[in-house]
């Protein structure tokens, strides 16, 4: 662990990314305590400029933009992390089984994966959210459904490579159950590429959520950064900060996650391709 940290911290940008991401997490966890009225509460006159009594000003209805940012951090992180976790789960399951058992199982599962890769993913996500009605659950579900295929291909490749290694053959020869071989012996050995790719998927998920919000497909009861940018764009001339501040929040968070991803990639496997 220490060695890992040493390698990770060799990249200054990765450390900066991690620090910023940690800040976002802290804000998301602790911030709402400071805004008990929630992000939708009308607190003051509309369109107060940043600093005019409120750190980041107020929006078109007189809501505190800072409160929106804080609650939005929570929404963006929940959506980014949960949808990625689900996508990794599906992807690892499908890819793992395909890679481990090979042959017709592999063929069938990869065909299924290919189908999902052939559908234009963002339009498919829109379809899913529209069908299920916009809510935080449907957005998470839709993002997970469209983002698992690359993960499954990655895991499949790792599993195929592992499957033919001697220690795995030996385990199977000893009569170990498939589940034990998979979970105890193979899976831990392919975690590093999964973690690296997963970290980038979190970033993509946050971007996808913001694009869905932009098109009006977000949970109306939750404040999210994408929603703030989307709702603020009408007021680009009147109140540019309504669009710029949450936009910057998205940008910096996604950037931070990407930097962490690169750092992880270097630290875990210097030879790994940086996607």
């Amino acid at each position: 662990m220490k060695a890992f940290w040493n390698r990770f911290s060799r990249s200054r940008s990765a450390v900066v990314g991690l620090a910023f991401f940690a800040l976002v997490v802290i804000v998301a966890l602790a911030g709402p305590r400071f805004f008990p009225g929630g992000p939708f509460q009308l607190v003051a006159k509309p369109f107060l400029a940043p600093g005019d009594g409120y750190l980041f000003g107020t929006d078109m209805l007189g809501r505190d933009v800072t409160a929106g940012l804080v609650y939005g951090a929570r929404t963006s992180l929940v959506i980014g992390l949960t949808s990625t976790a689900i996508a990794i789960l599906i992807g690892a399951l499908v890819g793992g089984i395909a890679g481990y058992y090979g042959r017709w199982v592999d063929e069938a599962l990869m065909r299924w994966t290919e189908i999902f890769q052939t559908i234009p993913f963002f339009i498919f996500a829109i379809l899913l959210v529209a069908v299920l009605a916009p809510s935080v659950k449907s957005v998470i579900f839709a993002i997970a459904v469209v983002s698992w295929p690359p993960m499954s291909r990655l895991v499949r490749g790792e599993f195929m490579a592992m499957r033919s290694r001697e220690f795995v053959e030996a385990c199977i020869g000893m009569g170990m159950s498939d589940a034990r071989v998979i979970f105890v012996h193979i899976l831990p050995n392919c975690l590093s590429p999964v973690i690296v790719t997963g970290s980038l998927m979190v970033a993509t998920a946050i971007l996808t959520e913001s694009a869905l919000s932009f098109l009006g497909l977000s949970d109306p009861n939750l404040m999210s950064w994408g929603f703030m940018v989307g709702a603020g764009r009408e007021f680009l001339q009147r109140a540019p900060w309504l669009c710029a501040i949450p936009g910057a929040a998205i940008l910096l968070t996604v950037l931070a996650i990407n930097l962490i991803g690169e750092g992880l990639s270097d630290a875990l496997n210097p030879r790994l391709r940086q996607l």
Partner: protein
């Protein structure tokens, strides 16, 4: 300025508003309309015209030529305005199709394809004299047979509102090629408000008869008698209409071409108008906040005129078959709690007027409207609201809440979403915990008007030219029609209201009719099955050089035959 001045275009196309309609008046307007205008100012003898001319620093003879680029939002699904009344279709189809009548700014009929008309005293026979020498774009003459066909075979059968507009029409007789006689079962005063090119286009019998009207090849390549000919429709981009050189109003139209562009993103539409790529944007194509900003621009004009025949009202509708909204006191409490001024100022940026009831104050001029009803915009309204909820049996519990509910948001864009967020906050102040639900259009329509699976929803309905067409549908017991949108979705009924509405629909005497509607307004406002929040004002933003841009209560939904661009 008054309506009267506004309508008077520099060439006087649409003429003096306000006097009682008659055969003679109609004919006089027709004379003006055909361009004998040097004389018309003399005939009409209206000093106001010169006032107008002086104020606007106008303008001389109309300049011919050029292209008018307008933005239409969203892109129309079809051009078949005879069987689909989707808003954007109305903005383009009247360039191609004419109607029997047009309307002045006070909603009185003026001539179009019908150069004059007479109504029998019992209101059961209406005779239209048609303009002569009118030809469709394919060269075939327009006659009374086309009128008969359009009304009886097209509008009465496949138009969404046609069956209501022409419900009393039994037959259209054609004694000669230029006379059409409508024979009615009962008087139908609203029918005379429904004969514009927008509401009831006159289509060519020779191209439509015997075909499947929904899939007729001319549905999307319309052939009409209007000032512009349809040329092409590049989906996702634009529609192009070119000048009809044989238009029956000689010398018109002035533009060589009208192009309707489609731009999905509101910010981009604003940019296109600001940059001069687009000269005309109606129906809030630009967000209100931009309209407000651009109203100070030296190159653009922002107006709320031209929507008098829409008269849309922003509403909150209750599901009166569901607890606790079956309780009048609960409904009234919420009606008291909504701050109409806040909504108008902060959500629609000033483009609206507080609504007092189901009939828009636009009808003040015709006497249909009254504000002598229960008023919810009183100073101590929050106090009353809380008291009503206590009385209704929903006191605040330990945590300060009374009950929970779901508030559906009508899926028509950003303002509606903000309105929902505002309502949620107001309900919270009353101790009502509301969850918001925002679904897409088809889902929402199903939920509200088929499944009735809702507590309270925002909504907006146009009241159109007459209460029979636009208002009655929300209050009449026979308008509870599962599966049909924009009817009585609250399912609130009262025998008395039914009686009043049915009597008013066939009442030929305007005065008696007004009294019936006044009583109707009093009853439903007290019942509060709907909260009438505000009368929505749409905006039109157009280039200052554009002349005669808004000359009718139908605004953009007209032919633009008198519009022209100053150099």
């Amino acid at each position: 300025m008054t309506d009267r001045e506004e309508v008077r275009g520099s060439d006087g196309v649409v003429s003096d508003a306000g006097d009682e309609e008659s055969f003679e008046a109609g004919r006089r307007r027709f004379i003006q309309a055909t361009g004998l205008l040097g004389i018309s100012a003399g005939i009409a003898g209206l000093p106001l015209e010169s006032v107008w001319a002086a104020e606007e620093g106008s303008v001389g003879a109309p300049k011919k030529g050029g292209t008018l680029v307008m933005v239409v939002q969203p892109e129309p699904p079809t051009l078949a305005s005879y069987n689909n009344t989707s808003g954007p279709i109305g903005q383009v189809a009247p360039k191609v199709y004419d109607g029997l009548l047009e309307y002045d700014m006070k909603l009185n009929p003026i001539p179009s394809l019908a150069k004059s008309w007479t109504e029998s005293p019992d209101g059961k026979t209406v005779t239209f004299k048609l303009e002569e020498g009118v030809r469709f774009h394919d060269g075939k003459p327009f006659t009374s047979a086309d009128v008969q066909y359009s009304i009886m075979e097209v509008l009465k059968k496949v138009h969404p509102r046609g069956p209501t507009n022409f419900q009393e029409v039994v037959a259209v007789d054609t004694p000669d090629a230029h006379t059409a006689v409508f024979r009615l079962k009962n008087a139908a005063p609203y029918m005379m408000k429904a004969l514009s090119a927008y509401e009831s286009p006159m289509v060519p019998k020779h191209l439509f008869e015997g075909t499947d009207l929904h899939n007729n090849p001319y549905a999307n390549k319309p052939i009409g008698t209007g000032p512009f000919k349809f040329v092409e429709w590049q989906r996702g981009q634009y529609m192009r209409f070119d000048r009809n050189p044989d238009y029956w109003r000689k010398g018109k139209p002035y533009f060589d071409r009208v192009v309707a562009r489609f731009i999905g993103e509101a910010q981009t539409r604003t940019a296109a108008v600001e940059r001069g790529e687009v000269a005309y944007a109606a129906y809030n194509a630009l967000p209100n906040v931009d309209a407000k900003r651009l109203s100070k621009s030296s190159t653009l004009v922002v107006t709320t005129k031209g929507y008098e025949m829409d008269a849309p009202i922003v509403e909150l509708e209750f599901n009166t078959k569901r607890k606790p909204f079956d309780n009048q006191k609960v409904r009234q409490a919420i009606a008291y709690a909504i701050d109409r001024k806040f909504v108008i100022d902060n959500i629609w940026f000033g483009y609206g007027k507080p609504a007092t009831g189901p009939i828009s104050s636009n009808f003040r001029g015709t006497g249909l409207y009254t504000d002598d009803v229960l008023r919810y915009d009183v100073p101590n309204r929050m106090e009353i609201a809380n008291k009503l909820l206590d009385e209704a049996g929903y006191p605040r519990k330990g945590d300060g809440t009374r009950f929970e509910m779901v508030h559906d948001i009508t899926p028509y864009g950003e303002e509606w979403r903000r309105f929902g967020e505002y309502v949620q906050q107001v309900l919270q102040q009353l101790g009502i915990k509301a969850t918001l639900r925002y679904e897409d259009v088809p889902t929402w329509i199903r939920r509200i008007y088929t499944n009735y699976d809702y507590d309270m929803t925002s909504d907006w309905l146009k009241t159109f030219g007459d209460p029979v067409i636009g208002v009655q549908r929300q209050y009449w017991s026979k308008a509870i029609r599962p599966g049909t949108p924009w009817v009585n979705g609250t399912r609130w009924t009262s025998p008395k209201v039914d009686e009043l509405l049915e009597a008013a629909a066939v009442e030929a005497d305007p005065k008696k009719r007004n009294e019936l509607y006044h009583e109707f307004q009093k009853i439903v406002v007290e019942a509060s099955q709907i909260i009438w929040v505000m009368e929505l004002e749409f905006t039109t933003v157009y280039n200052r050089k554009l002349q005669n841009a808004v000359v009718s209560p139908l605004g953009v939904n007209t032919s633009f035959d008198g519009a022209w661009m100053k150099a």
